[in-house]
Amino acid sequence: MRQLWTMTASDLRQRVRDRSVIIFALVVPLALMFVFNLTSGGAANLTLKPVTVAVSAPAGDDLATAITATLTQVEGIDLTVDEVSADDARSSARSGDAELGVVIPAGFGDAVRAGKEVVVEVTEGEDSGIESDIVLTVVQGVLTQLSAGAVTAAAGAGAGVPDAQLAALAQQAATQAPEITLTQGEAASEQLSSSAALIAGQAGLFLLFTVGFGVLGLVAEREQGTLARLRSMPMRPWLIVTAKGLVSYILGVVATSVLLTLGSMFFDVSFGSPVAVAVLILCAVAAATSLMFIIARVARTAEQASVLQSILALLLGIAGGAFFPLNTTGFLDVVVGLNPIAAFTRGLGITSGGGGLGDIGVPVMLMLGFAVVGLAASRLVPDRGRDL
């Protein structure tokens, strides 16, 4: 036990003195988190901004008024309707005073009733966003309804319904449709906010680099001849390998904990229950370390090992959503789900949504399963470097 600790401690000391572990495990991921957070800061805002719509509607046109009236009643968005002239509607959208300028032409109502071509023109402002999309959808919906009423009236006229009843017919088309009510349900959120997803993703990605500083040291020591010397010492050979694994594990746990803690402090996000998060970290580091044992067996030289490590880290990181959430479905989704980084991020999503130890079973099993399979595979794959 003393030998194990001596080797582990000496390695850890060496790694901390070697600046590269600090750079890879902490500096680069933190810098990336900052930059990503800055760049996506504008896009991450979830609340809908208030919008102003400048509408020009012909006076005394009841169908045009219907559009304006519907706009004032849009749910879930703070919408101000300014009634202005046609030129003002366009110019205020261009100048940014309004997000949208809607111009309903003169004779709109008559044209709709007669089924003649008519165009409602919308000018989108410079920084129109999702709110404008919502307004556009609403206007399109009203136009469809108005047109349906006009078609009904025309159909009635064609079938000999008296003229006096036609206006009522158009109204009835809208009111007599069987009503479909939408009730809004709540979804359990297992999603990380965009800032939290960045922190989790970068922590997961760089974990795969950090754990390399322990286990992959085996390959470097073999090249330098220090491994042979260690083997000549009066101790069991597995102690050497275990010590390297322990170095990886300690570095991984420390680095990931620091990254998640600093990240959640700097960017004001919470990952939820600290105990559950700690369990996730322990499992993720185990999975990542097991992968390094495979690389250590397959690689002949330290350079090969570091290349293999970078390739696997980047592939697993990207597939795990370290840079952007990946939208996968079907078989691909299952494959991506087996990825320990994806499982780690998913687990953090569950804990940040309020889940506790009992809820993270699936990601924990995935990561532990990966660790077990990884360790078993590392014993089975051919040892291309010998003596490991």
Binding site: V28, G42, R94, V119, V120, G185, Q191
Partner: protein, 387 residues
């Protein structure tokens, strides 16, 4: 110059012989362009809706209306849809119970549960679902109104079909679309990702290669080169040219491969190559600075990769510059990436001419001159330093 060219040729050969580069230089950039293009470049831009419930007339009608509106629709079981919403895999979940489907078939009022996700696009998608759902019952309302006026159901349907054929529905025309839409107009699915990746990888490959400069010094290659009839200036020029050649090679490969495989349009080829060459000179200069200031190749490759990723992210290679907040877009222009990004945008999207990209080329050339001078100076000094 011949000595410098020979040194540069050796550097390129060494770069190509390194088998680890096969993945990072030839495969990885294309993989990223493919992933980014398929994730962000496609359409279906009007949101994603997952509909839960057994096949029903109501479900099909709503799905058809949504698809017509440009929304991508998936069907699934209730549990799977709830999970998809929770995990952000869809913007909105719509639950059609068996009771709702039966009520719809019977013409009775229907209640559906709608569950919006927590992501940014969800509110707009919810609105699209509302409109689609409202539209589904329109025809029934029309028929009901006509039947109320004394027509038979068949006669009502026939009259509606006639009236519909004779009617032009009012059109909603969006003019002067916003800046972003205009900015990305005319870009192919993979175009935006490709120019970003090009800049990212040219810089990253150069900086990560800075550790070879340290090895060159450690193994005494520089000292031996100088023992040959080669002046210090020639040796330094050779190193600079070597870095530059590798950067250009990486960039040109990405340009050729993306245009062949993904049909990426690089606009005017000569102008694009000119931007690439200037940007490569900046990357070569930066690599020389790192490779001569640092003496530890582990730290150099760490800093190289870190700096390569950070600068690329800040310079608009991961998230388009146009989506940055205003101040940050200004700050981003301390990176060469942002200038090159602007130049590519000018060439690819607006058919820019040489005159249009002169400002960007000027800034890049100035950056390259400063970094190459600094790199040469510090490399010359570092040769006198023991490793």
């Amino acid at each position: 110059m011949r000595a410098a060219r020979a040194i540069a040729a050796v550097e390129l050969r060494r770069f190509l012989r390194d088998r680890s580069n096969i993945f990072f230089v030839f495969i990885f950039p294309l993989l990223l362009v493919l992933v980014i293009g398929s994730q962000f470049g496609g359409d279906g831009g009007n949101g994603r809706v997952a509909i839960a419930g057994a096949d029903s007339e109501l479900g099909t009608a709503i799905a058809t209306a949504l698809v017509d509106d440009g929304v991508s629709v998936t069907r699934g079981g209730a549990d799977s849809v709830r999970q998809q919403v929770a995990r952000g895999r869809t913007d909105v979940g719509l639950f059609i119970s068996a009771a709702a489907a039966t009520a719809y078939d019977a013409g009775a009022p229907v209640v559906l549960e709608i569950v919006p996700g927590a992501q940014q696009g969800s509110p707009a998608t919810v609105q699209r679902v509302r409109v689609a759902v409202a539209g589904v019952t329109v025809e029934r309302g029309q028929v009901a109104a006509l039947v109320g006026a004394g027509l038979g159901e068949d006669a009502a349907l026939a009259a509606l079909a006639d009236a519909e054929a004779a009617t032009t529905p009012p059109e909603l025309r969006v003019v002067d679309v916003d800046r972003l839409t205009q900015e990305f107009d005319g870009l192919g699915q993979f175009d935006l990702g490709a120019s970003g990746e090009l800049l990212l990888f040219v810089f990253l490959a150069s900086l990560a290669g800075s550790s070879t400069l340290i090895q060159t010094r450690r193994l005494g290659v520089m000292a031996r080169t100088l023992a040959a009839p080669v002046s210090a200036g020639q040796a330094l020029a050779g190193q600079a040219l070597g870095r530059f050649t590798i950067a250009i090679f990486q960039g040109a490969y990405i340009m050729v491969a993306t245009s062949l495989l993904f049909g990426v349009s690089w606009g005017n080829l000569w102008l694009s190559l000119l931007v690439l060459a200037t940007f490569s000179a900046v990357a070569a200069g930066a690599a020389m600075v790192i490779g001569s200031v640092l003496d530890n190749d582990g730290a150099a490759s760490g800093i190289g990769i870190g700096l390569g990723l950070v600068l690329a992210a800040l310079g608009g290679c991961m998230l388009p510059l146009e989506l940055f907040p205003e101040t940050l877009r200004t700050v981003a222009h301390i990176t060469p990436h942002a200038w090159a990004y602007d130049a590519f945008a000018e060439i690819q999207r607006r058919d820019g001419t040489l005159v249009d990209i002169l400002p960007q080329l000027g800034v890049l050339a100035a950056m390259a001159a400063v970094l190459l001078a600094l790199g040469t100076w510090s490399l010359r000094r570092s040769m006198a330093r023991a490793l």
